[in-house]
């Protein structure tokens, strides 16, 4: 299992989406998010996109006002995770059209559905944006 969690956080450090692929209780989650976000947000653009925290390696990338953070284990290819983040953003862009914080906030469940089509149990399921989005579009059409 490579990916342990996916977080989307705004510049103020507020969580906008959180998906964990391993069990953490409420307190652990809050503490972890706080620590990681503080660490990542303090870094400059020039510094590398990887931060080691506890037993996680956090790969993060910033898009406008949103930070995408992915926690992985030591076996994972960090550069590939960066690519994955980019794919996630492109997918959301395609659906929402230049995705922003509010899109994710007000369509939290849709963001989750997309993520669900991309990652299952910490592994990447699908890398084609069309394939990822087709069930979601179908559902929208149906309603």
């Amino acid at each position: 299992m490579g990916i342990r969690f996916v977080l989307m956080v705004n510049k103020q450090g507020q969580t906008r989406l959180a998906q964990y692929y391993e069990y953490l209780n409420l307190e652990e989650r809050r503490a972890l998010e706080g620590e990681i976000v503080r660490k990542c947000l303090a870094r400059t653009e020039q510094q590398c996109s990887f931060v080691e925290h506890r037993n996680y390696k956090v790969v993060y990338r910033r898009y406008a006002s949103l930070f995408f953070l992915v926690g992985v284990d030591n076996e994972e290819n960090e550069l590939a995770i960066l690519e994955f983040i980019h794919l996630l953003v492109e997918t959301m862009d395609r659906h929402f059209g230049n995705v922003c914080e509010l899109d994710i906030m007000f369509h939290l469940e849709k963001a989750h559905f997309m993520l669900e089509e991309m990652v299952m149990n910490g592994c990447v399921v699908e890398t084609s944006k069309t394939n990822i989005l087709s069930p979601i579009q179908l559902m929208e059409k149906a309603s």
Binding site: R16, Q46, C48, E52, L79, E116, N121, P135
Partner: protein, 876 residues
Amino acid sequence: MNPFSSATRMRDMIRAIRGCKTAAEERAVVRKECASIRAAISENDQDYRHRNLAKLMFIHMLGYPTHFGQMECLKLIASPGFPEKRIGYLGLMLLLDERQEVLMLVTNSIKQDLNHTNQYIVGLALCALGNICSAEMARDLAPEVERLLQFRDPNIRKKAALCSIRIIKKVPDLAENFINPAAALLKEKHHGVLLTGLQLCTDMCKVSTEALEYLKKKCIDGLVKVLKDLANSPYASEYDVSGITDPFLHIRLLKLLRVLGQGDADASDAMNDILAQVATKTESNKNAGNAILYECVATIMSIEDNSGLRVLAINILGRFLSSCDNNIRYVALNMLMKAIALDCQAVQRHRVTILECVKDSDASIRKRALELVYLLVNENNVKSLTKELIDYLEISEQEFKEDLTAKICSIVEKFSPEKIWYIDQMLKVLSEAGNYVKDDVWHALIVVITNASNLHGYTVRSLFKAMQKADEQETLVRVAVWCIGEYGDLLVNNAGVLDVEDPITVTEADAVNVVETAIGRHSSDLTTRAICLIALLKLSSRFSSCSKRINDIILHHKGSFVLELQQRAIEFNSIIQKHQKIRPALVERMPVLDEATFSGRRAGSVSAAASTSQGAPPKIPNGVAKPVSPPLVDLLDLSSDDIPAPGSSGGDFLQDLLGVDLSPASSQGTNQSQKSGTDVLLDLLSIGTPPAQSSSSTFDILSPSQGNKSSANVLDTLVASASPSVQSSSMMDLLNGFGTSTLVPVAETDNGPTALTYPATVAFESNSLKVTFNFSKEPGNTQTTLIKAQFMNKSPNIYSNFVFQAAVPKFLQLHLDPASSNTLPASGNGSVTQNLRVSNSQHGKKSLVMRVRISYKVNDKDVLEEGQINNFPRGL
């Protein structure tokens, strides 16, 4: 009605939460929402169930408890409509986890959905199962998932594949059922299925050797072909990432090849060509290409040796390392850590670059680089690398210093070619980052210093110089003060000057100045001050000209609020003023500390019990943590199971100090000082009163609880910190009894180890019985002691069936001869004698100790007496 787009109230809630200016406001909004959701739940409101759950998910994301919504998820999953199911499954994955019992209830719904005619519903169930299934669910639902691996729609197959991973992780026994269907997935064309199939095979190889063997045999050629086709494939818009077709698939393929090639020369051979092609042909100007190269290097490093490929891989890492992209440098350092095990030489070539990375402005890179450098150090390059690191220590950021210091200390200790170098480097570290040095590190330094007798002068002078420059580093101050205390005379006389030294002139007053400054600093903690006090006491004997001034400084601490310091100050003052005669012997240099024992203890391998049987007691620097004097330790070690390890409070320094030359009695003072502070204070205040027990024999002083039933109690009370009133007298003996006649017999024993006669000792005494031991040595055999035990009956009744038994710790061997009689005449009219022979395998290090048990019949009643003897003369 659409549960997603028409969730107007959901929108309202999010707006309300966004509008909150403080956390308290947010909490209030959330509390209100939760209350209304709970109300809806209890009314079993069906229309808004999905919307409520969506809200709960948002609330959950904000980090509030949402457990009350768990049952709602189950209800939604059980409902027939797709939108309800969808949100129900999402809630299930977010709000629940596999540990909750509620999950059991969902098994049946999932089973039904896995068999649903609508493939999207099947997909939902698979996804949920893949994310949260427990071992029990895995067993129940494995057949369904296995069947779905061959489902007609690839979107179901890919999800079934990932679901299978979860199942075989939870129940590895099920892996064999999945081998064939998993291998079949590797022939698929659909990228999603291939990607997940590869992942499934990789994970299966980890849990099942059978699967590993099967895949090695059947699939390598196929995989190589897939990778070749993929690498050479023309542009495919759907999967293209900056000119490369599906880098994710590339990486998955390389990962599986790595697992299959590990430890298998044939398999490795089969993939050589394609790995070479990927390593040379992949574009390295974009992140996607580099990700593939990175994975390819990892695979080359792991499979069986092919020198050509290895060179290629190391070169790629070299290129990565010199890249200006920090991400690439980070992964290069990461991979070099793994490469070092394979080809240390090749990594060594990049040493200079790696060292530069240690100084990078990016903490992640620094950390990786430092760990790599740590692995790169060997006997040949330790000097240059250490120099670089120490130089960098001066300018590094505060938060990095701790890591850096720890690593430098570790390197220096591990690879130091000679003691002088070790001491030099440690002094540099102490001067630069003494506040970050861990206790065990400077303890080790002191152990090394005591062992390097030819460097004592050099060390103390270097420390003195260092103190002139950097006196704010706590551990530097401690080590320096300790050394000045021990070797102050060498500092002043310039004894043993090495060629490399610049001569300095230090007066006695200068040396005392340093200690005085250190003890007076506000930042000095208790340990430092305690060390300072001892150093002052030692200097008072070494520097006769400063004795008065030192006494003044010590007196100054008589009023210290810290009890420990106050007590020591008073004691030391008393030693300086009243006990001039014994002072030089008291403050002699510490005996050389045993390096092997110390490092063993440091490694944590020496348990208390082991130290009893293994011998040499732990020795750690003066005033630090552990008692120094062997007899003391032995004494306590007998019942060491119960002895709490004293913290490094500096509280032991009386023990250290007095223990060097004094009888076991001092241990009482120490233990007491640690445990019953207020009583100590009372003792101190009554310091001038004549000692109550000092009129009697040697035994009284050694074992003041003689009045109690047996001497064994002494240890017990010490350990349990009870009965201070008994101990207080010993305390007074200790302080005031110096030089008085009562102590003479002990002093003789202690200071005259060459004498072959030992005083007879009352080993055991109760109201009814007295046991006296007479000692003699076999000529030419110092380890063995012959003891003649004499038993006296103090009662008016005759003792019959008299049996004396004794037990000793492992380092001793005991032989008992038969007693002269088993009947003990009444009222001391005659005695029984018995000979004992004790061999001490730790002769010179540990003293004798013994537990005894005496049983006899008096007036037809069985009596049993037990005790512990720990007042054996030293040197037996």
